[in-house]
């Protein structure tokens, strides 16, 4: 790990930022359609460096004894905040967890950048788009590298800003403007929780450094008087994670975030940024495992979100929205894994999900590019002849998402289900996961069959149906990822294979391992890992077959099926009216409150102020009639009188009301006399 103690590590974050700055400064006038290259170069540098970091960490682990956790490599930066006793530095630390995250994020980012070069061709804001993307990769890398809460919060907010800017990229579209506002506001609710958690940590520990806090945390949390505080800290941090990672009840922004360009949906709202919540939860392993209440909440919220989002995903007709609900659902799986104490599979699923969900979104983007920005399943269909490569890449992505045996999603999802089903108290969470797995397979292939099979439907304004070269390369590369990313696990031994052993060297993950070991102490495993694997494979295939039977020939059978379900379908189609519910209980009352505030401000306060103002205003009006005659000599008189008064006051140094009064009367008489004589 000594090889990592070098300032060059900062290049992982700074290379995309440099690209972003160059594009922001010179993009509009000089670089124009070449704006993509600095960013691709910058993110490429990050990717190569990240893989080097991963390799170095791997070597370090193979040389160490193992079992006791690896000392994280700390890259010293400089002092950032120094208030009172609180210190926060710009400082990075690398352990196996951050190494895996770095490699995943930069790799997916790199392919999305290449894809964007083709997808955003001819867009007037080409350079702006790439400048934002570069900034996003910088922020995300800072979030991952951070070794204290202040810096992680900086990265957390910075990715939020980039997400906001990119959702509203087509800012002239009202729906996009509304969507980015929604994302921003819902994230504020989450961030409020996060910052409360951080403040509680500062209040109790006086430091924000991960190492200092985590080392003292377990001991501190075991004291009886800190019981409430430890639950509160964990729940506050989880609120932040809920906002960023779109969990119940703050998930509402993610489906709307699909208003942004497709590469953004793939990168930010599927593969990387939304997983920041999961990363943070895993990073704060000690904090979460110390509070059994928080762990139960994480698992239950995760499972409920997974199921709930899956039901909505089953009835949507907008392809990107289906993948958005799927993302919410898969993030729910990750939280479920963390909540039942199996963070390895949470991170493992994060890593495989990044590949296949990015692939699915980019495939959807490819369809959208060919269909002239039409992506609704009512308008398109039967495209397998027109878009052959996209059909295959989407097929691979869909299989991986459905958990088809030996593809990326299969390995990680099985692990999560096995851990949840073997949990001594939360077994029902596992059963929700199993149910969701069938639904996932079903809605994934519903979407796939409706897009590429059945009667050919092409919108009238899509003239030039083609697949762009720049877009096909990343699609194929990510397909390889979706096919083989799961092999990193090596074998399905129930511990995440090679990746599992690798992650276990991280102190944060070890906290979860200890929790899990304590939990299962004296409990028999109800389900063996291979049984779960076989069972869930069968369920995935059943889901795929059902989708095939219903949607092979377009909407016909599906519509009948939907009619049969009646209100259930209607509810799922309308997203269970959650948006409308919040509109009624929150938005409209707030709007009314706003009207009341506006009314009181406009009519009551302004009226009082008007009366207060009326006094000096009427005095001024009278004086202006009397004194502003336009005659030069009357002005001279007034100046003279003014000077006399001031001189008098200066000389006597006493402000006698009597004198001032006489002088004022004198002035007025003089002015009036002057006026009359004129």
């Amino acid at each position: 790990m000594d090889a990592l103690n070098t300032q060059w590590i900062w290049l992982i974050a700074l290379a995309p930022l440099m690209g972003s700055i160059i594009v922001a400064l010179f993009g509009k006038k000089t670089l124009k359609e070449n704006s993509a290259y600095p960013i691709i170069l910058g993110v490429g540098t990050s990717m190569v460096m990240s893989w080097w970091v991963l390799k170095t960490v791997l070597t370090a682990i193979s040389h160490s004894q193992g079992g006791h956790g690896l000392e994280p490599a700390v890259i010293e930066g400089f002092q950032w905040i120094n208030i009172g006793g609180l210190q926060a530095n710009i400082q990075a630390s690398i352990d196996p967890l951050s190494a895996v995250m770095l490699a995943t994020v930069t790799t997916v980012s790199f392919f999305v950048m290449i894809y964007s070069k083709g997808y955003m061709k001819d867009d007037p804001g080409f350079w702006r788009f790439f400048a934002y993307l570069g900034m996003f990769v910088f922020s995300m890398v800072v979030l991952i590298l951070a070794d204290n809460f202040a810096l992680i919060f900086f990265g957390w907010e910075a990715v939020g800003v980039c997400s906001y800017l990119l959702i509203g990229y087509y800012f002239d579209k009202p729906s996009a403007a509304a969507a980015n506002k929604k994302a921003f506001i819902l994230n504020r609710i989450g961030d409020f929780g996060f910052i409360m958690g951080i403040l509680l940590i500062i209040a109790n520990f006086g430091t924000v450094n991960f190492v200092d806090v985590f080392e003292r945390y377990a001991e501190w949390a075991s004291l009886a008087e800190n019981t409430t505080a430890k639950h509160l800290i964990a729940l506050c941090l989880f609120t932040g994670a809920c906002g960023k990672s779109a969990q119940l009840p703050l998930y509402l922004w993610l489906p709307d975030a699909m208003e942004g360009p497709s590469p953004v949906s793939a990168l930010i709202h599927a593969a990387t940024m939304v997983t920041a919540g999961v990363y943070m939860t895993v990073r704060c392993g000690v904090i979460f495992t110390s509070s059994d209440v928080a762990m139960h909440v994480v698992a239950i919220v995760g499972a409920c979100t997974a199921l709930f989002a899956a039901t909505m995903g089953m009835a949507q007709t907008d392809v990107k929205r289906i993948w958005a609900y799927s993302t919410v659902s898969q993030l729910g799986y990750m939280f479920m894994a963390v909540g039942v104490g199996d963070a390895v599979f949470g991170i493992f699923h994060l890593y495989t999900h990044a590949f296949f969900k990015a692939l699915l979104f980019l495939s959807a983007g490819s369809v959208m590019h060919a269909m002239h920005h039409h992506i609704d399943l009512k308008e398109i269909g039967g495209l397998r002849k027109d878009l052959p490569i996209t059909t295959w890449t989407c097929f691979i992505g869909a299989l991986a998402l459905a958990g088809f045996p030996f593809l990326a999603g299969y390995w990680s999802k099985d692990g999560i289900l096995a851990s949840a089903l073997n949990h001594p108290t939360l077994q029902w969470v596992g059963w929700i996961g199993v149910l969701t797995a069938v639904m996932t397979a079903y809605y994934t292939f519903r979407c796939f069959f409706l897009t590429f099979f059945g009667p050919r439907k092409v919108p009238a304004d899509a003239h030039h149906i083609h697949e762009s070269k720049w877009m096909m390369v990343p699609l194929l590369a990510l397909s390889v990822g979706a096919l083989f990313a799961g092999w990193a696990a090596g074998s399905g031994d129930g511990h995440g294979g090679k990746l599992g052993h690798f992650l276990h060297e991280s102190a944060s993950i070890q906290a979860y391992t200890h929790y899990s070991d304590d939990l299962h102490h004296g409990h028999e495993h109800a389900f063996s890992h291979s049984a779960v694997a076989i069972g869930s494979s069968i369920l995935a295939i059943v889901g795929i077959i059902v989708a095939f039977v219903v949607y092979r020939n377009g909407h016909g059978t599906g519509a009948k099926f939907a009619k049969m379900l009646g209100p259930i379908h209607k509810g799922a189609f309308n997203k269970w009216y959650i948006d409308e519910f919040f509109l009624c209980i929150l938005v409209k009352p707030l709007y009314k409150l706003g009207r009341i505030c506006f009314g009181s401000d406009n009519y009551v306060i302004n009226f009082i102020l008007w009366i207060v103002c009326a006094v000096p205003r009427s005095i001024g009006f009278l004086l202006s009639i009397l004194s502003q005659t336009g005659g030069m000599q009357s002005y001279a008189m007034q100046i003279l009188l003014g000077i006399t008064v001031i001189t008098f006051l200066v000389l006597t140094k006493t402000v006698s009301l009597f004198v001032v009064g006489i002088l004022a009367i004198g002035i007025i008489i003089a002015v009036v006399l002057d006026r009359i004589t004129n």
Binding site: T629, G630, G631, M632, Q633, A636
Partner: protein, 104 residues
């Protein structure tokens, strides 16, 4: 040596005469002359103060000041007279009361 108080009294008398003339006269040229009178009153005061200044062992700042003042007054007089001429062309009168268009 004459005490500087007399200079200041002379300056004050000149200033007051100018002031009274400025306020009471209606002819613009006369009013302008009155402002010059006020200016000269100030100049005399400055010279007077400078005498005191010299007694205290300081320089000739006040007197130098007055030289500048006279130069500036000459330039300003040229400007003011041309303005008066322009006004006279605008309205064939020099009565200042006829020019009250700029009342508030």
């Amino acid at each position: 040596m004459v005490d500087y108080t007399y200079y200041i009294i002379l300056g004050a008398i000149l200033f007051c005469l100018g002031l009274i003339g400025f306020v009471s006269r209606r002819n613009m040229i006369l009013m302008f002359l009155c402002t010059e009178l006020m200016l000269q009153g100030v100049a005399v005061t400055l010279v007077g103060f400078n005498r005191h200044w010299i007694i205290l062992g300081k320089g000739l700042d006040g007197q130098a000041f007055v030289v500048f003042l006279l130069v500036v007054a000459a330039a300003e007089a040229a400007l003011a007279m041309s303005l008066v001429l322009l006004l006279q062309r605008y309205k064939p009168t020099l009565d200042v009361d006829q020019f009250s268009e700029m009342r508030g």
